[in-house]
């Protein structure tokens, strides 16, 4: 290397920032969204020749266009959020439960079985209660199994919970084949009697879903922050050695927490069956079990932040599908539009935590 090269400062360096004021954080995020819209606008115009503002209008209308659309946003938000809430305690304990999908399905299956076999024998309130209990237990069981293996034999929970998803999917596929008989697909269960369906409140069955998830958001926040269980979860998540030092029974805490996580997933399955789909298929969980991982992580396990993140994801999703149908464009195109927005919003976190220092002055380096 020659001497001249040595005297050159690096072109750009990264340094950790001091804590930013809230105003500046909001400012950076706003810039990120504007930049995303700009990049998207250029992309839309160059590729499709459409007016970007028209596209954004449709995107916005996807969630806010009509009151009905807004209600659907709330419904889907509730479904995604409850799974995020379910994952929060597990992830806070650094137990990578990526088996939410399967736990939801098992909960949903339990509900479906109750609806089909007990639908005409029990009064509706009792049926709903039985469905609730069995769904929660099934979801919990599906998480309990990998938790026990991890606690006792230290198996890898990521692989184990993931595999449990496929087992659950197969069981559900098998059952739906059996239930549907000669039909091409499984119809709404108890369409005539509406047994096991939530009652209508404010014109919608899923009003109950929204209320349940709203209450759970608050309860989980309190559970993690203000209870002894929540404290144990934090300690175990930080360091098992510290937990042992503090006299915490790590195995017990692990099995308990993961069972709770699975139980809430089971509850999500119950809500999907009784308040949203009233039918069962292998896609009943709708990928929420995986999307919720993003929700839980981005919100840093704070359930109130989860509401915002879930909303953002649902908003983008609705917008994307409306763009695709309104402009007759390929699904991929609208996915790119929402992808860019998500990328910029996540990328802005880097600029909130770090600043870039560029090489000063040009004279010396010319």
């Amino acid at each position: 290397m020659n001497a001249a090269a040595h005297v050159k400062e690096p072109f750009v360096r990264m340094a950790k920032r001091n804590d930013l004021s809230l105003k500046k954080k909001i400012f950076i995020r706003a810039i990120a969204i504007l930049a995303a819209l700009l990049v998207d606008g250029i992309f839309i115009f160059l590729i499709t020749g459409l007016n970007p503002f028209g596209v954004y209008g449709v995107m916005f209308a996807g969630s806010f266009g009509t009151f009905m659309k807004f209600k659907w946003v709330l419904r889907d938000l509730a479904t995604l959020l409850i799974v995020g809430i379910a994952l929060a305690p597990a992830f806070k304990m650094r137990f990578w439960n990526i088996g939410a999908e399967g736990q939801i399905l098992m909960g949903g299956l339990a509900s479906a079985v109750c609806m089909i076999y007990l639908g005409n024998t029990l009064p509706n309130w009792l049926l709903l209660l039985v469905m609730l209990v069995t769904s929660v237990l099934c979801g919990a069981l599906w998480a309990f199994i990998p938790a026990v293996f991890k606690a006792i034999w230290n198996t890898n929970e990521t692989l184990f919970t993931l595999m449990m998803n496929y087992v659950a999917t197969s069981i559900v596929a098998c059952c739906t084949n059996f239930f549907r008989g000669d039909n091409a697909k499984m119809a709404l269960i108890n369409m005539g009697t509406k047994a096991g369906w939530f009652p209508m409140i404010l014109g919608q069955r899923y009003t109950i879903n929204i209320l349940v998830v709203f209450v759970l958001t608050i309860l989980m926040y309190i559970y993690l922050k203000y209870t002894k269980h929540g404290y144990e979860i934090s300690v175990v998540g930080e360091s098992e050695n510290t937990a042992r030092y503090a006299g915490i029974d790590v195995k017990k805490v692990m099995i308990r927490t993961i069972s709770i996580s699975g139980a809430i997933c089971g509850l999500a399955g119950y809500l999907i069956l009784a308040g949203k789909d009233m039918s069962l298929s292998t896609t009943s969980a709708g990928g929420n079990g995986f999307t919720a991982i993003i929700v839980a992580w981005l919100a840093k396990f704070n359930t109130f932040y989860m509401v915002l993140i879930s909303f953002l994801l649902v908003f983008l999703d609705k917008g994307a599908s409306d763009i695709a149908s309104a402009f007759q464009v390929n699904d991929y195109m609208s996915d790119i539009v929402t992808g860019v927005i998500l990328f910029f919003i996540l990328g802005s976190e880097f600029f909130i935590n770090y600043k870039l220092i560029f090489r000063k002055g040009g004279a010396k380096n010319a």
Partner: protein
């Protein structure tokens, strides 16, 4: 005429709000051993990391052999003949010594392992290093790994060698040997920089001492004109006394009897072998030994965190119950607490075992007591008050009692941990490396706290590494060597303890001794 190998001019480096170095200017001469002395957090390592290309300064210049240089990576540093031996070794365990040395080298032509091995042999012969090129790193002792790091740097042709706290992991004998090597490198015309906060080492080995305080350069003095006291005062910035008290407590009472404790670790290696001793209330029992001689396992066995062999017996004499003997083997920390036994333990791994790094002081205060009471909810009032009290009494520097303790400096983290353990009013207080990495003021504050506990009649067990301190502070010293008790001495000198550290009961003459 004195030639400078390296000149630092007006270097400043900040990390967020923290100024690690402010306007530092100093010189490293050719063919000298320079000590860089400073308390923890005084910016020694940061400064040297900038010379070695790990960090890049915010402002200021570095001149190597009179020419301005921009050192943007360790590669740049090597090209300029600068090599650094870090405190935490950067070696690949499953590689051999030679493979580690050539790792990352781009010598152009075809890769020539034979040539490399020959070159390594030549370096080892030159300085009398005892490493074989084809030995795997995982088979090496700590001292051999350090030697390997030195060879690695010499192989790359370094003329300026920086050693970051190299003696922290060595026995006194190994330290002497390292110093010998440093002197030989100096005789070869190389510049050797040693970062340390141990004063007697500074005086023993260096030609000049550069002193940093709170990120700023204080002065460079000739070692021959300096004394421990004068250096300390420059380092701390005020007058200090360097004596550790050892108050005599009458009426010592047997508090803990450890008999025939053995323990096997996960890999099936015996880490404790037939250890027996007694600890008395009103005394400080020191435990000395090369790191990894079973200190950690011994304390954890007493605390109920370690499974022990069948013959083992650990008995606690309960002072609240007429010194009634209580067996501790087979208990876990919660059960010990439920028995009403106040046993406090400051583990070696502060943030990985004693505290929860992501939590604030308040939440850390309740780590061992959160279970108290029947409520499902957690009670934060008492822990908060305790946190406030400890912050006040021990002068913990923290932005707030809810700031994650991980963000505090090492000394403050230790104050939080020791503060909590002492607040539990223990009958036995065990500490592992209680002052490791702490500055002089904090270390002395900790010694004072331990002595206070001793005078209150607590049985204090102090696992330490600095023999000077062990000898001054402790009433008796138990020396561990390879999991065995090689002696329990009182009033021994540092050299006697050092010898016991490398052999059991006078048998098995130690290798790794002096150069001869």
């Amino acid at each position: 005429m004195i030639e400078n190998a390296l000149e630092i001019r007006h270097i400043t480096k900040t990390f967020g709000p923290v100024v690690a170095n402010r306007d530092v200017s100093m010189d490293i001469r050719k063919g000298e051993i320079l000590s860089v002395l400073g308390e923890n957090g005084s910016g020694k390592t940061t400064l040297m990391n900038m010379i070695a290309g790990i960090y890049y300064p915010d402002s200021g210049q570095i001149f190597v052999n009179g020419k301005e240089a921009a050192i943007r990576s360790p590669g740049d540093a090597f090209a300029l003949g600068i090599g650094m031996i870090h405190q935490h070794f950067k070696l690949v365990d499953v590689f051999t010594a030679a493979e580690n040395i050539v790792l990352g080298l781009k010598e152009g032509k075809k890769f020539d392992m034979k040539g490399a091995v020959e070159k390594i042999r030549a370096i080892c012969d030159r300085y009398g290093f005892d490493i074989t090129p084809d030995q795997k790193v995982y088979d090496m002792t700590v001292s051999q790994k350090q030697t390997l790091e030195i060879v690695k740097v010499l192989y790359r042709g370094a003329d300026i060698l920086i050693l970051d706290e190299p003696t922290a992991v060595l026995t006194p004998q190994e330290t002497d040997r390292l110093f010998q090597v440093m002197r030989e490198m100096k005789a070869d015309g190389k510049s050797v920089v040693i970062i340390t906060h141990k004063l007697h080492e500074v005086l023993a080995v260096s030609d000049r001492v550069a002193i940093l305080r709170k990120g700023e350069y204080v002065d460079t003095v000739e070692t021959k004109d300096a004394t421990e006291l004068s250096l300390t005062e420059m380092m701390v910035g005020k007058k200090v006394t360097l004596d550790i008290d050892r108050p005599v407590v009458k009426n010592k009472k047997l508090r803990l009897a450890v008999e025939k404790v053995s323990c096997v670790n996960k890999e099936g290696v015996t880490v404790l072998d037939d250890v027996s001793f007694e600890a008395f209330g009103g005394e400080i029992l020191g435990i000395a030994g090369i790191s990894g001689s079973g200190q950690k396992e011994l304390l954890e066995a007493i605390a109920g965190l370690q499974l022990v062999g069948e013959q083992s017996s650990i008995t606690f004499m309960d002072p609240e119950n007429g010194d009634e003997p209580v067996p501790l083997v087979g208990q876990n920390p919660r059960k010990i607490k439920e028995l009403g036994i106040h046993l406090s333990f400051v583990p070696e791994d502060r943030l990985g075992m004693g505290l929860v790094g992501s939590m604030g002081m308040t939440d850390n205060m309740m780590l061992k007591s959160y279970e108290d009471g029947k409520s499902f909810f957690i009670e934060r009032k008492a822990p908060k008050a305790l946190a406030e009290e400890i912050k006040e009494d021990l002068e913990v520097v923290t932005p707030g009692i809810n700031t994650p303790v991980r963000r505090l400096s090492g000394g403050n983290v230790q104050k939080v941990l020791v503060g909590r353990e002492i607040a539990a009013a223990p009958a036995v207080l065990m500490t592992a490396y209680a002052v490791r990495g702490l500055d002089i003021n904090t270390s002395y504050a900790i010694y004072r706290l331990l002595n206070e506990q001793k005078e209150k009649g607590v049985a204090v067990i102090y696992v330490g590494e600095d023999l000077d301190v062990l000898v001054e502070l402790c009433d008796r010293i138990l020396v561990l060597c390879g999991g065995k008790v090689s002696g329990i001495v009182s009033g021994a000198t540092k050299e006697e303890v050092g010898l016991l550290m490398t052999k059991v009961g006078g048998k098995d003459p130690a290798e790794g001794g002096m150069t001869e």
